[in-house]
Symmetry: C2
Subunit: 213 residues, 2 copies
């Protein structure tokens, strides 16, 4: 297909497609004559992937480029891709040094040990957890920190379903795509579900809900 058809098939405007090709996020078309190129289903698929990462992951073009290169590298194994995808899409935050950070670091290290998680405390995800816990402690929200194990158990359930979903994928190229999309799109989905659920749980708690459930 021509670029105009590629644009129609995906809904991505032609200038955006040209930009993605220039940045190496989507491969160039097969040259079929002077200033003419042909595109196929692999372009449709890659374009949809790049757009979904750009729209929902809040990822920069540079971050998407890094992920796409990993996806295209036949030596990338799923486990490594998993870690890299996670580190790429987790914005690392510097936590102010001080007693709140020291305490949060101990809490995260204890949690990881207690639950038998395999992770490095220098990973961006661990640093983010430290930063959020330090902030919760700074604003005096210790109640939330006290329930960390309960939250962790619920999140472990989510991760188990994640891995179930990923495990169903046979084709390797597809599998790495799924890892990235599931990781990136899962966060806004769960945040949205948390809001939808909280509203009805809070109705029950604040006794606004008179109908039996």
């Amino acid at each position: 297909m021509r670029m105009a058809e590629l644009s129609a098939a995906t809904g991505v405007p032609v200038p955006t497609i040209k930009y993605y090709i220039r940045e190496g996020l989507v491969p160039a078309g097969r040259s079929v004559g002077r200033n003419q190129a042909a595109y196929d289903d692999s372009h449709v698929r890659k374009l949809r992937l790049v757009r979904s990462l750009a729209e929902y992951g809040g990822l920069t073009i540079a971050m998407i480029g890094e992920l796409v290169r990993l996806l295209d590298d036949p030596d990338t194994d799923l486990f490594r891709l998993f870690g890299t995808a996670q580190n790429t899409i987790t914005e690392e935050r510097e936590t102010r040094p001080g007693p709140h950070r020291d305490k949060a670091e101990r809490i995260v290290a204890d949690l990881v040990a207690r639950r038998g998680w395999h992770c490095d405390l220098s990973d961006p995800a661990a640093r983010t957890a430290v930063g959020v816990l330090a902030t919760l402690s700074e604003v005096g929200l210790e109640d939330m920190i006290d329930r960390l194990d309960d939250y962790a158990a619920a999140v472990e359930r989510i991760a188990e379903i994640d891995i179930d979903v990923l495990g169903d994928v046979e084709d390797r190229e597809r599998a790495v795509e799924v890892v990235v999309v599931a990781t990136v799109l899962g966060d806004p989905l769960f945040a949205a579900l948390r809001r939808l659920t909280q509203a009805s749980v809070s109705r029950r708690v604040y006794k606004l809900d008179k109908s039996p459930r």
Copy 2:
């Protein structure tokens, strides 16, 4: 205390404090003479709150201003604050019209009905869920959509703990603060925990983990 002491107590630089006061996020100090103002513990508390929202919520100054006005309004009830906090911090996304969106809208409506959630399908959280599901369907990640009820059950557990934590708060002013902070800081915390957990679950699945757990 003077502004320099307020800055030392919170770690927020003096120019940032002045900016927050100018924008109405933190109340001005009590005037104690020409060009001199005094600040107290309520300023320390409000400054920490504003900073935690700005750092972790990814909220704009305008959004924080809206939340602070709600917090300061004695007529704001907890349930209403909950909804407003959620709508303020949930970035609404326009989903491209088409069969994927139509399908996603049906899926969300069915999910909400099936689980007995009380929410409006026009709320930003519901719109975000529709957008993510439409994108998952567009990139062919139907497996993740098929497990939506399992994910929803895990998220309901998180929301129950959220409401437990909020329910422990006696003082009303404190309670509204807690609602906002827990809602805003919970998302990055759960995303970080999801990454930490996935790594060890994926080690098990991909048989990289030889030690017994």
